[in-house]
Amino acid sequence: MDFGRSADEQAFADEVRAFLRAHPPESFPADGTDAGYGSGAHSRAFLRALGERGWLSLSWPREYGGQAQPMAYRLLLLEELAAAGAPFGPLPGCLQVADSIIQHGSDTLRREILPQVARGEATFWQGYSEPGAGSDLLALETRARLEGEQWILDGRKIWSSHAGVATYGTVLARTDPASTRRRGLTMLMVDNRLPGMDVRPIRSLTGEVYHYEVFMDSVRVPRDWVMGKPGEGFAQLLHGLDTDRFWGRFYKAPFLERILALLVEYANTTPRDGGVLADDASVRRRLAQAATDIAALRALFRRAAWLIERELPATGPVSAAKLMADELGQRVLSLGMELLGPYGVLRAGSRWVRLRGEIQHQYQTSWGHTLAGGTSEIQRTTIAVRALDLPAEPRVRG
């Protein structure tokens, strides 16, 4: 087995690091919140800088302006960005949507949208969840009907990340009114600037806006702004689910390593009982324990990456890694809060704040991670039924 990087891969990683040294992450203005997954804030300026280097289209086929590099390069890029705490917030989602457009999009979508993604200009929100369709996504009620060359889209989506600062949304809508559950759904690409779109912020418990509620009132979407075929939206969704979960989380391991390094530095330099906090055996042990958990998380994500790259069944490892990433994240940040003691609750900018207030912020965001992208309960059920071949729980009708 070989967990290593090739010489070319290492050279690319070095190039990314050199770029980050020359362009420190804090020099890019943020236009959206850091949701704590490890991808940092939403910053178009940063995305554009990556786009200028051709890094947003690294793994696309050459015919779409890409460099046809293997998936390993995209992994390296995101890993290095996360380790540096760079503001690449929406990037993993953009790359996912771009992949879908390349594989399943119409020629119009490829022509219109891919170049914008490559330049760092287009970002996306996901229109899946609705007020009445959370873990039971198929209960969704958003509808679209074809009228001539346009879909007329009506409905309401919620918990859509960055929808207020993004350019397009991928919206799952029922297009066959007679259908139920997984049939008759279509994945539409919707331009935020279309008439009838109303994107309203939802303030999170951190005091910031990350999620939005999106109201769509007779929004006219061009007929070929469809991902996959009409009526096959569920297949689109399912196809992307494992990879969404993977690309939405795998940089959490380097992120948690960065957080752990902050805590280690804090323990080494914080006076305690005539020595420092790091002299306390229980502090040492708990930080070391966290390090072992993070190492295992990283290894599990590597396994998942390897399976995805080879297009092998990856549902079990991907869901397990997502589950582990989010629960471990809560534990690591909770440990951080404990080490900081009374200083832990101080916000960024407060007098006497420690570690720039990052721990309390990420601690709060971590509460939502075990809900977003499929709750931990959904992940466990997915692992049990789809990877471990246990019988599905019967659906309650009515």
């Binding site: 087995m1 323990a267 080494n268 324990q289 072992t292 390897w306 890694a321 466990r380 246990l390």
Partner: protein
């Protein structure tokens, strides 16, 4: 990155999966556990004909010169089948130390270990129960006489030779002694894991300069890499045992019906199994990543072994405890294999450095400042 087994490793895995369940079914494991002198000499011979004891021995000394990864494959299969054997102690730890030591005695013993004719035990721990230089009091002088004792010596009843680590004039010193050297006695300890552990007493045991392994005073330096490999193998063994616990639970949950349907159809049970899967998979790939680091000679390999050992033990013990919950009362019976797996995991978690020892190494590797001196595995 390539996370596939090599063709040779696939063959090794296949032969283990063919032999072990047939030759060492749970009833056999159970019988060996209940017998205070239990040791399956015939199984060891059979294992020897497959070349496993010589896996890590160089070809010119009668072995097959295998890799760290090969050892991980076998350790995982031994764990899955829950085979009680001196493989990790003798064929991994002692063998690695002997190979590194060189010299006439080691050169004479290694080919016979490869053939399975001889077995080598390790007498290192003392009353402190810690695998650390300052936890050893036994004086070793060669030439001289050895008087004192060692604890938790595994498989002393089956071993023909023993490596003894003690304090010499020049520092920690290892000697290789035949078990039938006058004055050595093995007194069984009664362990709930089914492992055969002994107190080894030495009374005026004669030692010569020829008995010294490696350089006098360099005993820790010699044994540390061997124990590191042993710690990784124990981690792989725990992964194998934990996988088996999960296999048993899944088979049970698919067929055991309560309330009109299989219990595996209830979320409470599904979620327990999902957690077990997460624990087994994450531990497995951490172990493999560590094996690669050792093979590639990466500078962080030492810390990686400590990390893997701590995590694998945590994860596998969680799986074992959760397994009891899924299996229900049947898993509490002596005749059911679950407790054997749980106990095998427990034994492995304590061998080749326990959590306290390895966490100390991890703590230093992540940059926590420390004034105390390092344990054995750090050197």
């Amino acid at each position: 990155m390539d996370l596939a087994l090599s063709p040779a490793q696939q063959l090794l895995q296949q032969s283990a999966r063919t032999l072990l369940p047939r030759r060492c079914p749970p009833e056999r494991v159970q019988a060996l556990a209940l017998d205070p002198r239990g040791f399956d000499a015939d199984l060891w011979k059979e294992i020897a004909t497959l070349g496993w004891p010589g896996l890590l021995i160089a070809p010119q000394q009668g072995g097959s010169g295998g890799t760290v990864g090969d050892a991980v494959v076998l350790a995982e299969e031994l764990g899955h089948a829950c085979v009680p054997s001196p493989f990790i102690g003798s064929a991994i730890i002692a063998t690695t130390a002997l190979s590194a030591a060189g010299g006439r005695r080691a050169a004479a013993l290694l080919p016979r270990l490869a053939l399975g004719e001889r077995l080598c035990a390790l007498a290192v721990l003392e009353e402190a129960g810690r695998l650390a230089p300052d936890a050893m009091a036994l004086r070793v002088e060669a030439p001289g006489r050895l008087t004192g004792r060692k604890l938790f010596v595994a498989d002393a009843h089956a071993a023909t030779d023993v490596i003894v680590l003690g304090r010499g004039a020049a520092g920690p010193t290892a000697v290789l002694l035949p078990m039938d050297r006058g004055g050595i006695e093995a007194h069984p300890l009664e362990s709930m894991t089914g492992d055969k552990l002994f107190e080894l007493t030495f009374r005026d045991v004669e030692t010569g300069p020829d008995d010294v392994l490696g350089e006098p005073g360099a005993g820790f330096t010699l044994l540390a890499p061997a124990y590191r490999l042993g710690a990784l193998a124990r981690s792989a063994e725990m992964v194998g045992s934990a996988q088996r616990v999960l296999d048993l639970c899944l088979s049970h949950a698919r067929v055991r019906r309560q309330g009109g349907r299989p219990i595996g159809g209830y979320q409470a049970v599904q979620h327990a199994c999902a957690d077990m899967f997460r624990d087994v998979e994450s531990a497995r790939w951490l172990v493999w990543e560590t094996a690669w680091k050792l093979e590639a000679g990466r500078p962080d390999a030492h810390a990686a072994v400590a990390t893997a050992k701590v995590y694998a033990a945590d994860a596998a013990l969680r799986v074992a405890r959760r397994g009891h919950q899924v299996m229900g009362a049947i898993g509490y019976c002596e005749e059911h294999p679950l407790h054997l797996l749980h106990k095998r995991i427990l034994a492995a978690s304590l061998d080749a450095g326990d959590a306290a020892l390895h966490l100390d190494t991890v703590a230093r590797s992540i940059g926590l400042r420390d004034k105390s001196k390092g344990p054995l595995l750090k050197s």
